[in-house]
Amino acid sequence: MKKWLLRLGLFLLALVVWLPLWLLLTGALMGKGELLHNLSPVLGEGKGFASWPLLPQFPTLRPLVELLLDTPKFFVMFWNSCAMVAPILLLQVLIGAPAAWALARYRFRGRDTVYFLYIVLMLMPFQVTMVSSYLVLDRLGLMDTLWAIILPGAFSTFPVFLMHRFFAAIPEGVLEAAALDGAGGLRSFLFIGVPLGAPGILCAVVLGFLEYWNAIEQPMTFLKERSLWPLSLYLPSITAERAGASLAASLVMLVPALLIFRFGQRYLEEGISAYGMKE
């Protein structure tokens, strides 16, 4: 009896997540005519209420094909998103991993100060650093370029914190053995730290991807030029008449995020609970 109640509760709660995802999928498969007919009360002058059928009457791949083949603008936006996210993640790891290694495996003067500073900076919301970032970017002439998004993102201290947690968990004995074999600081980092701390690096990459694939504030603030906008900012501003293209684009935007989520779920969970672990 109790088990039955539990299952029902979980199922109903899960429905809240499943339903929007399902509607997004069916919406992208609706033909143009059907879509306009269903949504005209919201998008245009149609009377009555909008409806969004659980199953499209005439499912078609046309909107998706049209989007992928005949909409060069879409590719620009998609490319902007990639050209923003990829360098951020790459730089975060290249610059952040050695720093995390230093904080995790060495005792040196100023270590605690730097570590505390990094935690404080990581917890500061975007709005706090918005003006100061603007002043720097403006002076460097980087406003309205993708670098205005990439550089502040690349220097985020959150990935350093995450990787630090994983580097610190590597047993001391492994490193002592390597040192006895004559491995120096750099070799220990590259051949022991990086492979053993790889889950931490993956955590940073997965969380970073989801964060920047969904970026709205940063491009909205630093990119006035619409042709540079990533999908995450462009899609909400798409006009009602192009609802078909918008839904297809939503689906295309959703797929990479869900794939990364599906295969990186373990790292996502570990990355989130890294906060909970004490020093």
């Binding site: 709660l13 995802l21 900076l121 201290t157 709205i216």
Partner: protein, 285 residues
């Protein structure tokens, strides 16, 4: 031997240098510069003391935004933390299907806000699906997004997207409770309710504070959900600090922004110190 020692002391600085240099030049020093600017007039460059702060604190938009932001956090964060705990407990009880449901509740975290904008619009519009559903019960249609109801929609959307995050935090807290405690309780004849109130809840109490503060800090990202609901011109009830910042940015009110950024930074810093104090207490116990 001496050479070896020196290399040892130099290595961490070399590892740290690129990151620390970039962070200092791009984030830390510019922010300190912004704090300095908050005491100067952007127009004349003269020292004006606390004048900018006075202007900001008396600004009607600032008051509206702070009020809404506080209302949002005070209402949303407790519900978020409680709902996440409920989900975590349900997951813990459901043995076979735990994996599926965990994935399900985490999924919204990965869903980009941009891809659900149109769906939300169709759902909450005056002629939308929610009103269509309610009309069967004789409820008059409401424009959910452009009236005071927008606030409720914002809270629900935020919960929808972020509860999974806190759920993971609670789950790792639940995992840390020693099974021996439950076994001992069972031997003593404690029933499920007693076990929950005498073991589970007390053991989770230290987590509660950490999770609440983290949720509070994370809640600054609510701008994304607010943008999903209100776009550039949201209803007054969901006009948040984040909107205010982007408005001031558009009009380039640098001195006002510097003062407001300093105020927000101070608030965040206070929260961090509170969290640190709690962590310290936990360690001393």
């Amino acid at each position: 031997m001496k050479r070896h020692r020196r290399r040892r002391t130099l290595a961490p600085y070399l590892f740290l240098a690129p990151s620390l240099l970039c962070v200092s030049l791009f984030v830390l020093l510019p922010f300190l510069d912004a704090v300095r600017r908050s005491f100067y007039s952007a127009m004349s460059g003269q020292f004006v003391g606390l004048q900018n702060y006075r202007t900001v604190l008396h600004n009607a938009a600032f008051r509206l935004a702070v009020g809404n932001t506080l209302r949002f956090t005070l209402l949303c964060i407790p519900v978020l933390v409680a709902l996440a705990l409920l989900l975590a407990l349900l997951l813990q009880a459901a043995k076979d299907e735990r994996g599926v449901y965990k994935t399900t509740f985490l999924a919204p975290l990965a869903i980009p806000v941009a891809s659900i904008v149109l769906l939300w619009k169709v759902a909450f519009h005056q002629n939308g699906m929610l009103n269509s559903l309610l009309s069967h019960f004789g409820v008059q249609p409401v424009d959910w997004l452009q009236t005071d109801w927008a606030f409720l929609v914002l809270v629900l959307s935020y919960l929808w997207k972020n509860t999974g995050y806190d759920m993971v935090l609670w789950l790792s807290g639940l995992q840390n409770i020693s099974p021996a405690l439950y076994e001992a309780a069972q031997v003593d004849g404690a029933n499920a309710r007693q076990r929950f109130f005498k073991i589970t809840l007390p053991c989770l109490l230290p987590e509660l504070f950490t999770i609440s503060v983290l949720s509070l800090l994370n809640s600054f990202k609510v701008f994304r959900e607010a943008y999903l609901i209100g776009g550039d011109y949201p209803h007054d009830s969901i006009y948040l600090l984040q909107h205010l910042f982007s408005n001031w940015f558009t009009s380039l009110d640098v001195d006002k922004m510097c003062a407001a950024a300093t105020l927000v930074a101070l608030a965040v810093l206070l929260l961090i110190f509170a969290m640190q104090a709690a962590w310290g207490r936990k360690e001393n116990r």
